[in-house]
């Protein structure tokens, strides 16, 4: 049979439960701006009733384990899209930097034009020393525009290499952190405690890791493991496996996972974006510049040697001959002569002949690189540069939109709503006040019962 004191116990259980719920609300409100935080929901359960047949008495309310509201599949999808975004953003950033060398008034294209124009000027008056000097200057400018463009790409490549090393160390810090979080989560779960907050933290850590590398989350019996998409182990439960960066024979940093080179096997994250630009985009551009510089200098040198200088002596090389195998031609090209009278403009040995200058000028329309004339070839290089950036930008935007949508979805499930918390606060406050009122009432009743005998 019920008693005033059992009612008191029930009211106390209500006070405690509402207090717990208020705590939870307070915690949700506090974490409204915490990245990755998944809101927690108070769980109230009815106390196990006491049966005194034929009657059943309630025993109040039990404040259960709070629930973190999270869609694990959506979180995985977010990790994956974050990896795409990380890769494209890194590519866009680097390629934008790379394309600056291919525009403006000092690029190879402009200097090519100036070079051939000064050659045309020279053919109008081949024995003029000022015009010869002008031609040498234009040739020097052309060579230095090749050098500047190629060298700035090479410097960028070196900088990217340093970023690769930094990314690896960031990845290692994060995997270590995640292994630690795994351990804490397991410890809590072993004693059936709520690990929701820690899981939120771990999810956020994996999100950060996803910015950098293509992580796959593999749930195991009691915890999770992380691998790259290609299967290189990063975290197994409470143990992390560090990646290492080592200089490869090609001179750039390669990524190793437990002794295996995984550099070319990454498929997402900013690290892969960096590696793609470093190992594909920039070498591709350098190769095109090299092909043009080598083709141009070889063709021009051949013609220059066939002519005669101002003194009637057979010409030498106009540009330093390109290295064998083309690589490095753009960064090493320079004008081979400094004396303007050594320019072999003449085709018959007499100083006033412009035959060879005209032949040099005709290289303008000759196939020197990949069957294309220098201007067409350079235009195709400009196209490739621009197209690389534009493609990466489009991909980054598309991925950004998907990421935004997924984040919206995730927020609609897991983010803290202040309105909701405000409403809950009112509910719990009211319930708490009601329970307190019950206690006051029981107190009054108890007083009345105690005072019964005094009449």
């Amino acid at each position: 049979m019920g008693s005033l004191f059992s009612s008191l116990t029930i009211a106390v259980s209500a006070l405690q439960a509402e207090q717990g719920a208020l705590n939870l609300t307070s915690n949700n409100v506090a974490n409204v701006n915490t990245p990755g935080y998944a809101r927690q929901r108070a769980v109230f359960r009815e106390g196990i009733p006491v049966e005194l047949p034929p009657l059943v008495f309630g025993t109040g309310v039990v404040f259960g384990q709070p629930q973190s509201v999270r869609d694990d599949i959506l979180e995985l999808r977010l990790h994956e899209e974050t990896q795409q975004q990380g890769q494209f953003d890194a590519e866009v950033q680097q390629l934008q930097q790379a394309q600056t060398g291919f525009q403006g008034t000092n690029d190879v294209g402009t200097q090519l034009t100036n070079f051939f124009n000064s050659l045309n000027k020279l053919s109008a008056d081949p024995s003029s020393l000022p015009l010869r000097q002008g031609f040498l200057t234009a040739a020097g400018n052309l060579a230095s525009s090749f050098q500047t463009t190629a060298r700035s790409l090479e410097i960028q490549r070196t900088n990217i290499d340093q970023s690769v090393v930094q990314s690896v160390s960031q990845i290692n810090t994060l995997t270590q952190q995640i292994a630690g979080q795994n351990q804490q989560i397991a410890a809590l779960e072993n004693v059936h405690e709520d690990a929701g907050v820690l899981i939120s933290q771990r999810t956020e850590s994996i999100r950060q890791l996803s910015q950098l590398i293509d992580v796959r989350v593999v749930p195991n019996e009691s915890s999770i493991s992380l691998t790259t998409a290609n299967g290189a182990l990063l975290v197994a439960s409470s143990q992390s496996f560090a990646l290492s960066a080592q200089v490869s024979p090609s001179g750039v940093q390669h990524i190793f996972s437990q002794g295996n080179d995984i550099t070319g096997k990454l498929s997402g994250g900013s690290l892969n974006g960096l590696i793609t630009v470093r190992d594909q985009s920039i070498p591709g551009l350098l190769n095109q510049l090299d092909t043009l510089a080598a083709g141009l200098s070889t063709t021009l040198n051949g013609i220059h040697r066939a002519g005669f200088d101002l003194n009637g002596v057979a010409g030498g090389d106009l540009f330093t001959p390109p290295p064998v195998g083309v690589t490095g031609a753009a960064s090493s090209i320079s004008v081979a002569i400094t004396d303007p009278s050594l320019i072999a403009a003449s085709s018959d040995g007499s100083p006033g002949s412009n035959g060879n200058a005209a032949a040099l000028y005709n290289v303008r329309g000759q196939a020197v690189a990949n069957g294309q004339n220098p201007f067409d070839y350079y235009a195709s290089v400009v196209f490739n540069v621009g197209n690389g950036v534009a493609t990466a930008q489009t991909e980054s935007q598309a991925s950004g939109q998907i990421l935004q949508q997924l984040t919206d979805q995730r927020n609609s499930i897991s983010a803290v709503s202040l309105d909701e918390e405000g409403a809950n606060l009112l509910r719990y406050q009211n319930a708490y006040q009601a329970a307190a009122k019950v206690i006051t009432t029981i107190n009054d009743l108890t007083q009345a019962a105690v005072n019964l005998g005094t009449y």
Binding site: F102, S123, A124, P351, N362, F375, V382, F383, L418
Partner: protein, 295 residues
């Protein structure tokens, strides 16, 4: 369904997008160009690279044409003077052949003929900006020199080389005539026939034959002179065609790379409006929460 309670990221993204559109439009308006970086439009950037190269080349052709035309005009007027001198020499020859002429008169004619010879020699050694016009490609030294040992009294030290010059994408012209071709071409040698005439007048014999020879030399020079007129005409036509090509190129540049000011301006304005709206929405949204009403 539960609504995303945290729309800040969306609002920020939309504000950033509007800002980007605004900046792009303003950059287009400021520069007048739609393609400022290769990535703005890769195909257009490639076309523009070729367009600029060709336009700069056209400017260069125009410069070269004006320089070469000046030189050709000097050469042409020099030959004009040679022709007048020869004309005078022929008149003198006819005069010298007159039966009533005294020895003193003939000797005056001889003196004038010798003067004309010197004059033509000087004209044949005309240089323009330091290079001799009638020396073939050996243009750094005077081509003709007086030489008593030579039958004509003059010897040619130039060569027979000619220069051609590109003055169009696939158009080039020959820009000089070697002195040997002008002054001692097939059918008439200027210096030889002048020398012959001088000797004939001096000796008062064979003057008619000598005048005939000088006429032939005169014909050769006037025939060769046509070359300069032709080239100058070609250069003139080429100049016109390059100018119209430049116009086409500049039209192409505008079509491919130019900004559409009206479109850019309206994009800038609508992006600004959208941005203001987004900012206002953000302020009202971010200030609204149930907590604002719980007192």
């Amino acid at each position: 369904m539960r609504v995303n309670p945290n729309p800040i990221a969306d609002i920020l993204a939309s504000i950033a997008l509007d800002q980007q559109i605004q900046e792009t439009a303003l950059a287009q308006l400021a520069s007048g160009r739609r393609v400022n970086l290769p990535s703005d439009d890769p195909a257009a950037a490639a076309t523009l690279s070729l367009n600029h190269a060709q336009a700069a080349q056209d400017d260069q052709f125009l410069q070269v044409i004006s320089g070469v035309s000046a030189r050709l005009q000097v050469a042409d007027s020099t030959i004009g003077s040679v022709v007048s001198s020869l004309d005078r020499a022929i008149s003198l020859g006819i005069e010298g052949g007159g039966a009533t002429l005294s020895n003193a008169n003939r000797s005056a004619i001889v003196t004038e003929l010798q003067g004309l010879q010197q004059q033509i020699l000087g004209l044949a050694n005309t240089s323009f900006q330091g290079s001799y016009l009638f020396a073939g490609t050996a243009s750094t030294t005077a081509p003709f020199s007086a030489n008593p040992a030579s039958p004509s009294g003059v010897s040619y030290g130039g060569n027979t080389g000619t220069n051609t010059l590109s003055v169009g994408q696939s158009f080039s012209v020959t820009v000089n005539l070697p002195g040997s071709q002008l002054f001692s071409g097939t059918g008439g040698d200027v210096f030889q026939s002048l020398q012959d005439l001088t000797v004939a007048v001096q000796n008062n014999t064979g003057i008619d034959t000598a005048v005939l020879g000088l006429r032939k030399a005169f014909d050769v020079v006037t025939t060769q002179r046509v070359f300069y007129g032709n080239v100058l005409q070609q250069l003139d036509a080429q100049q016109t065609s390059i100018n119209s090509e430049k116009l086409q190129l500049s039209k192409q540049e505008n079509a491919v790379g130019g900004a559409d000011p009206a479109a850019a301006a309206s994009a800038a304005v609508s992006a600004a409006t959208a941005r203001t709206a987004a900012l206002q929405a953000a302020t009202s949204l971010l200030n609204t929460s149930l907590f604002n009403f719980l007192k």
